[in-house]
């Protein structure tokens, strides 16, 4: 293997380690901030680390219809989201830039959501099945939104390569980029649903007293799923920022990294504020909301293909 490949592998490992270390910290800040908004002293900021370590130490009860698929799915969800972590710029250029394009990014993010569906299906209990049916309904209207945003960016940038699309390509083009602004607003409004927070965490906490698709998992497998949820927050924020809020990314090396992480914390602050002050939507209200946004995003795609 030549030095280029070794260097890429090292950068990929660095990305993975960075994402793994920072994700529980962001979740901890989110919980602490939610507690402060509710006028109480919350858990310590390092609490999610303790949670994950404790879950790794518990006994693993294999219950469910198909235990083999359960084992597979726990690892697959973490693996797919970490692969996305190598594809997305995290303040510096991503190591696997040349390995794929926008279609691969959309596919891997969808795979991560499909893993939740598989998780519920492999468990097979009634509450899990209800949870995944709701998750399926949400996914049908939600994944096209992200795909539409990335495609609008691709149309503006005239290529499907990741480094050109994920560099603020929504705003390319002459004149005022209407389609870019519309797509940015739509992704902002639907962001809570991507990261599975209130008001849209319908599938997994709707049967709030029974936890939805993850109901039958215990111990280490649950730790992997919880880790995946924490990492999704960072990955979707990174995609959102590099697509819609790219300014400041051209500063000299250290400053760009700092700006990026400041923007990520701003996004987390926004997510926390919305999550702490809203109530959960019912499934039909949420679908109507997403369907309206889907219609608007198709309109924006049309505009983009006509050059606006």
């Amino acid at each position: 293997m030549d030095s280029n490949t070794l260097w890429t592998i090292a950068r990929g490992a660095l990305n993975v380690v960075l994402v793994l270390l920072v994700a529980p910290l962001c979740q901890g800040i989110l919980r602490k901030l939610t507690a402060r908004i509710q006028s109480r002293q919350g858990p310590p900021v390092l609490q999610p680390y303790f949670d994950l370590l404790k879950l790794l130490g518990k006994e693993d009860i294999e219950a469910g219809e198909v235990p083999v698929v359960q084992r597979l799915v726990a690892f697959l969800s973490l693996a797919s989201i970490l692969t996305v972590g190598c594809l997305v710029p995290l303040g510096f250029a991503s190591p696997l830039n040349a390995a794929g394009d926008v279609i691969l990014l959309i596919y891997l993010l969808t795979l991560c959501s499909v893993c939740t569906l598989l998780a519920g299906l492999a468990a097979g209990s009634t509450y899990s099945l209800v949870g995944i049916s709701r998750e399926m309904m949400t996914m049908i209207t939600l994944e096209p939104l992200l795909a539409a945003a990335l495609i609008v960016g691709a149309v503006h940038a005239n290529s499907l390569r990741l480094e050109s699309v994920l560099a603020g390509s929504l705003y390319f083009g002459s004149g005022l980029p209407w389609s870019g602004i519309i797509m940015a607003v739509i992704i902002l409004l639907a962001f809570q649903a991507f990261v599975q927070r209130i008001p849209f965490d319908i599938s997994e906490a709707e049967t709030e007293l029974m936890e939805g698709p993850l109901m039958e998992y215990s111990g280490p497998k649950l730790a992997l799923f919880k880790y995946t949820q924490m990492i999704k927050l960072i990955i979707y924020s990174a995609v959102f920022i590099s697509l819609c809020v790219p300014w400041g990314g051209d500063a000299p090396y250290g400053l760009a990294f700092l700006m990026f992480w400041i923007k990520i914390f701003a996004v987390i602050l926004l997510v926390t504020l919305v999550a702490a002050t809203h109530a959960r939507y019912r499934i039909d209200q949420a679908i109507r909301y997403f369907a309206a946004m889907l219609g608007t995003s198709f309109f924006a795609l049309l505009l983009a293909s006509y050059g606006h």
Binding site: R36, I37, S39, R40, Q41, T277, H278
Partner: protein, 173 residues
């Protein structure tokens, strides 16, 4: 669902600051007349078993070993801290303290037991006076709750059915 209402709600909650009471670090004052755990004062108890008769959870058990010795057991398990025993005690030997921090890994920790020497009459030498001399021979008033199984034995006639000594034979009706 307006934006301003959410911002106002956040501002109100943040304005309240942090209202969490630092509980195990600092103790909290209890209201007056708070009924915590009952404390049995054995030096004042006369062994009348009024508390046992009145307890709604049948938590106080009474057993007469012989005429002069009476064992009273308060098991803390089912006590609902209602205070009826303290209300009815003629000597005010039961005090409802203000302790509510009673958590424990062994439930036997809440047990309070009293073994009392009952005083006897100077003339007839008995603790309980029957309504007639015949009733006195039948030894009404003795209590025999089941201490091993912690059960209150409710007998509508308080007679002793087992033979008490070899040369005394009591005929029951």
């Amino acid at each position: 669902m307006s934006l301003m209402s959410k911002l106002k709600e956040t501002a109100i909650c943040l304005g309240a600051g942090r209202v969490t009471l630092p509980y195990p670090a600092e103790t909290r004052p209890v209201p007056d007349q708070f009924r915590g755990r009952p404390i049995f004062d054995a030096t004042r108890c006369i062994g009348c078993a009024g508390c046992a008769n009145n307890c709604p959870a049948r938590e106080i058990l009474v057993f007469d070993v012989c005429q002069e010795v009476r064992i009273l057991k308060y098991l803390g398990r089912r006590c609902t801290y209602c205070g009826r025993c303290a209300d009815v005690c003629p000597e005010k030997a039961i005090k409802m303290s203000q302790e509510f921090e009673n958590a424990t890994p062994q439930i036997g920790d809440l047990h309070q037991g009293l073994e009392l020497f009952m005083s006897t009459c100077q003339r007839c030498g008995r603790c309980f006076k029957g309504p007639s001399i015949l009733e006195a021979l039948k030894m009404k008033g003795y209590r025999f709750d089941d201490l091993e199984n912690d059960r209150w034995i409710f007998r509508s006639n308080g007679y002793m059915k087992d033979p008490v000594a070899d040369d005394i034979h009591i005929e029951l009706d």
